[in-house]
């Protein structure tokens, strides 16, 4: 029903559209976006490690600065930070590059006519505007922090933690603990998806609104540009948030066991329990 009304102003599909098939495997436009982002990262890594110097040039500083910052924050979390620092940096860089890739002109606007109503099916869609991508990253994070909890506490210790302290409260506390573990999965993926998809909708709406008055007010060119700047900021903040939350969840999984006995004082102030 709402296709006619909302379709006239803007068209944003909530799920990624299929471009072509490879066997039984559907290739969507957000997969192209994710692939482009990872190719860009791989090319940058290959190019920069090839000509790395002790006195870094501009390009080397550009890629070393965020890595050093995230590594510095992660190193302050627990004593076992070397085990997961690569995951945190990887999450940050991947999300950052795929978010900013989505703001380039041509992404989401160049495409083919779809089968249904002649709507545009873009070749490239920002990867994080698809719930599949963000859910995949969250599942990786979830598996890693449960793995760390089991590795540090042992399977029995992890089960004991899920059951809770007064053992007779187990029928009540076990479902609550399970849901709170799983809600991290949902909140991580929904936060990133919601922010990036809402950004796409916002930009499309602003463009649609201002192109109507573009011959009256030349100023209308600048209104979407302001929101592009906002989206740049949101892109880096959300990448940082995802990486830092992944780090915090792993820190909690490791730190719960120590209970202050193991002398890692830095873990204490990170070990609040976000949902």
């Amino acid at each position: 029903m709402p296709e006619e009304e909302s379709g006239s102003l803007i068209h944003v599909a909530i799920k990624a559209e299929k471009l072509f098939n490879i066997g039984p495997f559907e290739v969507t436009n957000s997969m192209i976006g994710a692939l482009l982002a990872s190719l860009l990262l791989l090319a940058a890594a290959w190019y920069i490690t090839r000509r790395a110097e002790t006195v870094p040039g501009r390009l080397q500083v550009l890629i070393e600065l965020p890595i050093e910052y995230i590594a510095g924050v992660t190193a302050g979390s627990t004593s076992r930070w070397r085990g997961y620092v690569a995951l945190v940096i990887g999450l940050f860089l991947m999300i950052l590059v795929s978010n900013w890739l989505g703001l380039l002109p041509g992404v989401g606007t160049i495409g083919l006519q779809g089968e249904h109503q002649g709507e545009l099916v873009a070749f490239v869609r920002p990867a994080a505007a698809d719930l599949n991508f963000t859910l995949a990253l969250s599942i990786v994070t979830f598996v890693v922090f449960v793995w760390w909890a089991i590795r540090v506490n042992g399977p029995i210790g992890y089960l004991k933690e899920l059951v809770g302290e007064p053992r007779y409260m187990a029928p009540l506390m076990l479902p609550i603990h399970l849901i709170s573990e799983l809600s991290r999965l949902v909140s991580l993926s929904m936060r990133l998806f919601g922010n990036i998809f809402a950004g796409e909708v916002l930009l499309a709406t602003m463009l649609a609104l201002t192109t109507a008055v573009i011959f009256v007010l030349p100023l209308a060119f600048f209104v979407p540009a302001v929101f592009l700047g906002l989206e740049l900021l949101i892109g880096i903040v959300q990448a940082l948030v995802f990486a830092l939350l992944a780090m915090t969840y792993i820190t909690i999984a490791i730190a719960e066991h120590h209970g202050g006995g193991h002398g890692t004082d830095e873990t204490e102030h990170h070990a609040s329990t976000p949902a």
Partner: protein, 72 residues
């Protein structure tokens, strides 16, 4: 029509996170004013708190976006 109305109503839930973000930001600025050297130490917990508060608003946004673009 109905789903658009429902989408608008769903965004009422964004009031709470809005107030919460305001409180969090004002407290962070207060702490920064008292102790400007602590900017680096405040930044990471501040960003995390901001993200966790904002997530509730994002849930409302996702619900209303689904109602607009995918709802019947």
């Amino acid at each position: 029509m109905d789903s658009n109305l429902a989408a608008g109503l769903a965004m009422i839930g964004a009031i709470g996170p809005g107030i919460g973000l305001g409180i969090g930001f004002s407290k962070a600025m207060e702490a920064l004013g008292r102790n400007p050297e602590a900017a680096g130490a405040i930044f990471v917990p501040y960003i995390l708190g901001l993200a966790l508060t904002e997530a509730i608003g994002i849930y409302c946004l996702v619900v209303s976006l689904i109602l607009i673009f995918a709802g019947g």
